[in-house]
């Protein structure tokens, strides 16, 4: 078992490829990350940045066509070499996940109570009976109104926000040590998004779970997570403590991303869009994938892939400019 200071999750040199081997699409390239118990990590990136694929690799739910190499260690276990049966035993108990679309993630033919009890029953090893009020209790924990009524209702009778609460309740029923949330608020209205995010923080505070939240919504990450990883075209480009990255981003892409967000607090809203578009993953340039859109790109950036450089405590960045101190 892990010691308190040992990391809960360690990913090393993770590569995920799709498509024909002679012309592969590298959805995730050379990903390294470490997560401590009880830590909340945000992974941000635009579509095609590989953030969802990375999470599916950790949960081992990638389609069979994916080619995965590297290591994923969870609490000392190498997940990639586990059998499907061993992996299924971990899922939902030690590591769990919340998916993007609450509207379709519940079976339409069974009541909420039935589906919750099914999850609870699977949690009890050794055949112990599920307590009758268990499902209601789970719903109360995720602050769903009128839980006694909800357990008798079918998914279509609940709104999207309510369904996402149910799903978070299911995923966290066993107080997993790691919860991965993939775009958990994207399909929801603004007034409900925060209510879902709060559930993740409560989970960490009450059960000591670590949480990985994957989203394109920078504001959610800023307010929820302890640490943030920024991904671009399948690679991690910057990683560091959330406050520091948002205050002093070191990678030009992170900076550009923050600059292109309209902010309501300012007197006048100014936008600085990033020119160009995300490159095709099947035809990446030899150097830095962001070089073509980067305002401060050097010749070196186009020629060679940037190496990792440390720019502060636990703050690392993959950029030649930042490494040279030029973009500071």
């Amino acid at each position: 078992m892990t010691l308190p200071n040992e990391p809960l999750l360690v990913v090393r040199g993770l590569n995920i490829e799709f498509g024909p081997p002679e012309r592969p699409v590298r959805a995730v390239a050379d990903a390294d990350l470490t997560l401590a118990p009880g830590e909340i990590l945000g992974i941000a990136g635009e579509s095609g940045s590989g953030k969802t694929t990375l999470c599916s690799a950790i949960m081992r739910t990638l389609p069979r066509s994916a080619r995965v190499s590297g290591r994923v260690e969870f609490a000392g276990k190498e997940l990639l070499s586990l059998s499907e049966r061993e992996m299924a035993r971990l899922r939902g108990r030690d590591l769990s996940m919340v998916l993007q679309n609450p509207m379709t993630s519940l079976d339409p033919l069974y009541t909420i109570g039935n589906q919750l009890e099914e999850v609870l029953r699977e949690r009890r090893r050794g055949g112990a009976e599920v307590r009758p009020g268990g499902a209601v209790e789970v719903l109360r924990r995720v602050h769903l109104t009128a839980p006694e009524l909800r357990v008798r209702q079918y998914p279509h009778q609940l709104s999207g926000g309510m369904r996402q609460r149910v799903l978070v309740g299911m995923a966290t029923a066993a107080a997993p040590r790691l919860l991965i949330a993939d775009e958990p608020t994207t399909a929801l209205d603004a007034s409900i998004q925060d209510e879902i995010l709060i559930l993740f923080r409560e989970l960490r505070d009450t059960a000591g779970s670590a949480v990985v939240i994957v989203t394109h919504d920078l504001s959610a990450i800023r307010r929820l997570s302890d640490r943030v990883i920024i991904m671009y075209a399948g690679r991690i480009v910057e990683e560091g403590p959330t406050a520091e990255v948002f205050r002093a981003p070191r990678h030009p892409y992170t900076r550009a991303l923050l600059g292109s967000l309209p902010r309501i607090e300012d007197e006048e809203v100014v936008l600085q869009p990033i020119p160009g578009q995300v490159p095709d993953l099947a035809r990446l340039p030899p150097g830095c994938a962001f070089a073509a859109r980067c305002p401060v790109a050097l010749d070196a950036c186009r020629a060679e892939r940037p190496q990792e450089s440390t720019v502060g405590e636990r703050h690392r960045v993959f950029c030649w400019q930042a490494a040279a101190g030029g973009a500071a």
């Binding site: 709104s159 603004a190 709060i198 307010r223 902010r263």
Partner: protein, 339 residues
């Protein structure tokens, strides 16, 4: 032309739209759902009116009425002083040249079986412009929205989401419209691309003197483009006024909540929105927001608040707007914890 005497580009008076639902019980009364009630606003020429609200608030219904895709159940909709639901077919065709639209979904907005040049020229052709003349305009239009002229021969699936929205904008601009209805045009786009399209829209407005009706759920985005904003809640307009005023000094508790949520710096949990949206089939009595409002009292349950002035050009529908503006009750803290 004197701007004071000419009618505004758009004027909506008491616009209401109800949809009939089939009865659920055998001999029950056929019920109806109200998508928009008594919505009134005006958009001066060359300005942007921003509509803010969550899903189901009725903002898209108003847009569809302005595009004549739906007819109002009550109320009037005037464009340049002319009632658009009392037009002859010839007048309607002329109107369709004046008003164009860009929708949210960049994948559903363009016919997958048409090439970019045909997509762009289709509105022109519909208005009787010859094929040759229409095609001559394609390179200019593509350049206008920042697409290379070679893309004329491509099919929609060969473009990225942001490029498709550019294409949709080029198509809308092809007939030199005066009014653009923008229904969540950037909501489906990635952050970096969103900023590109927003700056393009602002540039187009300045260059071509367009009037916009902009619909969005992201307050910061709406504020970026809008001069005036209207906040919709559950089919009703609850606050209306100059964008800066409404978003910096909101007078309706709902707007206040939205603004607080949109501020990226607010710590998580500082603002809580309690409860769920009411059921459209059995809305609460009185003020529709009272079930989620910290200011709600007996008055709110008894009477529906009317829109009334709370400042210069600034209207809000709240019985307690003074207290709200003064912020006597915090949106924060344990008061609202039990959601």
């Amino acid at each position: 032309m004197n701007p004071d005497t000419s009618p505004p580009m758009v004027e909506a008076v008491g616009l209401t739209k109800t949809f009939a639902l089939p009865a659920t019980t055998l001999f029950g009364k056929a019920r109806s759902v109200t998508a928009a009630v008594d919505v009134s606003f005006r958009i001066p020429r060359g300005r942007t009116f921003g509509f803010v609200g969550e899903s189901g608030s009725g903002k898209s219904t108003v847009a569809k009425m302005l595009l004549k895709l739906e007819a109002p159940s009550a109320g009037r909709l005037l464009v340049e002083g002319e009632d658009i639901f009392a037009q002859t077919p010839a007048e309607e065709l002329a109107y369709r040249r004046k008003v164009q639209a860009v929708f949210q979904d960049p994948y559903g907005s363009l016919s997958p079986r048409m090439r970019a040049d045909r997509i762009i020229t289709e509105p022109l052709r519909a208005h009787g412009v010859s094929r040759r003349e229409a095609e001559d305009r394609v390179p200019d239009l593509l350049r206008l929205v920042g697409l290379p002229p070679e893309s004329a021969r491509k099919y929609p699936h060969e473009f990225s989401g942001g490029q498709r929205q550019r294409l949709a904008i080029a198509r809308a601009l092809s007939v030199d419209p005066q009014l653009l209805v923008l229904d969540e045009p950037v909501s489906a786009l990635d952050v970096s691309v969103r900023a590109q399209v927003l700056t393009l829209l602002r540039e187009m407005q300045q260059r071509l003197g367009l009037t916009y009706l902009f619909i969005g759920h992201d307050l910061a985005v709406v504020r970026y483009l809008s001069d005036t904003v209207g906040v919709m809640y559950f089919g009703r307009m609850v606050e209306l006024g100059p964008a800066r005023l409404v978003l910096r000094h909101p007078a309706h508790p709902y707007t206040r909540r939205l603004v607080a949520l949109a501020a990226g710096d607010a710590p998580l949990g500082a603002v809580r929105m309690q409860g769920e949206l009411p059921n459209p089939l059995s809305p609460p009595s009185g003020c529709l927001f009272r079930t989620r409002c910290p200011y709600a009292d007996a008055t709110c349950a008894a009477r529906l608040p009317e829109m009334r002035p709370v400042g210069p050009d600034h209207l809000a529908a709240c019985h307690h707007h003074e207290a709200v503006a003064a912020g006597t009750k915090a949106e924060t803290g344990p008061l609202l914890q039990e959601a």
